[in-house]
Subunit: 331 residues, 2 copies
DNA sequence: TTGTAGGCGTTATCAC
DNA sequence: GTGATAACGCCTACAA
């Protein structure tokens, strides 16, 4: 049996309410007694029982994050950033890798104050699961009732294409995966096509390169195929994710194509790691910190007053210049 | 204010202790009343208050896992397996990406029943933090007082080298990272050297190849350098991790070396993904499921009776044959 | 400045 | 079968 404030009260010769006050650093207790009580508590290795405290206080000051797909790394940087952001608000973050409904069930047991969901698949979730629990989703809209932080992928592609066009590029390739499962990949693809039409770019056999996967590996192979054909190569390439872009760079280098002299490259995913690739990569997408901040801010808004939060919140992308793009050679 | 068993009691015209029993499906309450109570509870959207329950029950049936380095993927498969294993015991798993002491502090607030720690750095942790809390660490020994699940990396290397020697190989290279920070990498390296001496293998300029990092990337470059020298190539290579091995395969293929005809390869990390590489890789190390099971079993032992658990528990490696090794050509 | 007492929502132990 | 009632450990008026 662990030690409680009653035990301490006895040892200190005061009532346990005094102990409670002292331990909560209330100004209502004489410094002397306070010091004494605290000392005794330390000596006895007192550990507050949070279940009891929460029973009366109702708040855990903790936010739960549902992240069923740990094995896909892409979000790990974001998770870390979100944690930091949450801590700035004086809250803690806890993680579950279960599916959304199981995780939320568990979080409720812990009296979590709010939930952020990263679930990839659009799942039917009984509304009772998240009834009067501040909850938000990122990536895929979980449910039409749950506020959702979205990224404008289309606009990101537009930004990238425009940038390249302004540099004089015309033969631009999109290297990405468009498995129909992932809405985000599809939007990037569609965004590229839109931009393509908008700037009236010439269609070549290489305009769209399907990687068939999201690993560096997939980007590498796809690009390898691309550069090994006889037809005229693109002067610029847009990679649809960090990993894919890493593969692209590798494949281009192996073909002795100098970036950006021979070919320009832009990668999606605005994360610091882009700077550490073989060639520091100019990238598009909302900076990871911005996404984190947006998500966390929204969650706290939700906790304050549920109604003031829009159902969909869209984050706009930026373009970060690094060393992988150059003016197109006049051809 | 949410609804409690008292409210339900009133609506059902029974005492709240009866409601409690009914909701816990006690056989001590007449089916009729039970049904009625459950119906009312549903109607009212009753949600039990777990803080209150735990105040009396002391158990949360949840195990906390401390994993500060999400951004390093290597462990994610293991985390998932551990979660599954824990669920087999009817428990849940929850994750924190904070440092061990912060995470444990938080877990205690949630009345977690036990803790598993993946922390990479050996940190001084005040014993009071984990006083009478079942706790275990994996990877690096956290502290001499905390039970620790270890992997016998040396033996793994011995296994790999022996296997190759039995196939007739003599010129064997070790491609790995031995940054002094990571004890595990060092042990792999040392294990290789031991085996090397044991079998009296000839030292060549390529016996040891330092990758200087743990990414596929690092393995790729190191191997590239290796195969591009003029000196005689090894007939077999051991890669010290999954990612590094992926890089090795890539580099060998680019040099048009056929695996295993021209060169045999073994990779450390006995995970299913090894089968999906360009060449399915024969690998060494404890199967990931075995590690998970070992960790979880130990944790539950610890919860049952703290004293019966050895401080260090060592898991022994296995060798999984796939398609990357062949008999050495007689030279 | 300190102590008393009621309550938070459950479960568990008794009586009835 | 059902109902009081006492914990569980803590917080917070309010009383002293």
């Amino acid at each position: 049996m662990s030690i409680t404030i009653k035990d301490i009260a006895e040892l200190a010769g005061v009532s346990y309410s005094t102990v409670s006050k002292a331990l909560n650093n209330s100004p209502l207790v004489k410094p002397n007694t306070k010091a004494k009580i605290i000392r005794i508590a330390k000596e006895q290795g007192y550990e507050p029982n949070f279940a009891a405290r929460r029973l009366v206080q109702k708040q855990s000051h903790t936010i739960g994050l549902v992240w069923p797909t740990v094995e896909r790394v892409a979000l790990s940087t974001l998770v870390t950033k979100i944690k930091e952001e949450i801590e700035k608000h004086g809250y803690s973050m806890i993680l579950s890798i279960n599916s959304a409904s199981t995780a939320i069930e568990m979080f409720k047991r812990f009296q979590i104050d709010a939930v952020i969901v990263f679930e990839e698949t659009k799942q039917k979730m009984d509304a009772s699961v998240f009834a009067n629990l501040p909850i938000i989703s990122y990536g895929t809209a979980l449910n039409n009732e749950i506020p959702f932080v979205d990224v404008n992928y289309r606009q990101a592609m537009l930004l990238g294409v425009k940038y390249l066009v302004d540099l004089g590029h015309k033969r631009i390739s999109f290297v990405g995966d468009f498995s129909p499962v992932d809405q985000r990949q599809i939007e990037k693809y569609e965004g590229f096509l839109e931009a393509f039409e908008k700037y009236n770019l010439p269609v070549t056999p290489h305009t769209i390169v399907n990687t068939g996967g999201l690993d560096w590996y997939d980007g590498y192979h796809a690009t390898k195929r691309l550069v090994e054909t006889d037809s005229t190569l693109p002067t610029a390439v847009i990679g649809s994710s960090y990993d894919i872009s890493a593969g692209i760079i590798r494949a281009l280098r192996e073909k002795d194509l100098i970036i950006p002299k021979d070919i320009s490259v832009i990668g999606y995913d605005n994360i610091p790691q882009m700077a550490n690739l073989e060639t520091p990569l100019t990238s598009i997408g909302p900076p990871i910190d911005v996404i984190a901040k947006e998500i966390v801010t929204t969650v706290f808004m939700l906790m304050d007053e549920k109604d003031s939060v829009p159902t969909i919140q869209t984050i706009h992308p930026e373009l970060k210049e690094r060393a992988s793009c150059a003016i197109a050679k006049s051809t």
